[in-house]
Symmetry: C2
Subunit: 144 residues, 2 copies
């Protein structure tokens, strides 16, 4: 098995609310949309984020855990400066993010904050100046 994530799929309770947040709020452009069922976005060069109605999700994957609270998963959106962390968190708040944890200087040298989407999924907004943080940006010389 190669080291590859192709899709990240989140089971959501209300696709209309998801659409309001990601499309109307954050101005993301859907790649595919089936009303009441699924909403997909490109989220990287070879990566798709899929928001899937929980009913459909359960019929395929199985009955979901009764989850209230924070789930043991975050999606990170990395940016190139600490200032952009604050800017994206402000944008998420304006888009209606239910919870926002302001940017904090981390002991490992970065600066990161969090916001929650309409289902409570946590997005980390991160400036990571370390070597692993650089992996997620295109090489500077590559302007193609």
């Amino acid at each position: 098995m190669e080291q590859r994530i192709s899709f990240v799929t989140l089971g959501v309770r209300d696709l209309v609310a998801s659409r309001r947040f990601y499309v109307d709020g954050l101005r993301w452009v859907p790649e595919l949309e089936v009303e009441g069922e699924v909403l997909m976005f490109r989220a990287g060069p070879l990566l798709v984020l899929s928001l899937w109605d929980r009913g459909h999700f359960e019929r395929e994957v199985g009955t979901l855990a009764d989850t209230t609270g924070i789930l043991p998963i975050t999606l990170a959106h990395n940016v190139s400066t600490p200032e952009l962390v604050d800017a994206v968190l402000a944008e998420a708040r304006a888009a209606g993010a239910s919870e926002v944890a302001e940017g904090v200087q981390r002991e490992w040298g970065g600066y990161t904050g969090y916001f929650a989407d309409p289902d409570g999924f946590r997005w980390e907004v991160a400036w990571n100046p370390g070597p692993v943080g650089q992996l997620v940006f295109p090489p500077v010389a590559d302007t193609t």
Copy 2:
């Protein structure tokens, strides 16, 4: 906010078990490893998968939901033929995947199955012949 996932972080209960599965079992090569804390892998051109000890996760993100059962998230590993779906599921089983749902022909035209990692996180192994499925592979002409 641009449409970009840079990191996928999973909160895990036992990094030794995670290592046994992903490194010893699936032969993934760590990009960064801090014993007892975190294990990171490249998972795409600009994407990192991070397995983070739940204790550390909770101290930064907040107290986790009491989750027993299936979480409303899956990570998909797409492959280029239906046969490869079966092959990867067999590999996951050999690596110690706790649960495996064999490949099924889906009504949308694809062929997919699932396996669970040591924490129960669901990976979908998918052959998706549709347009969105093609987004997650490099263009055939691009051999760089």
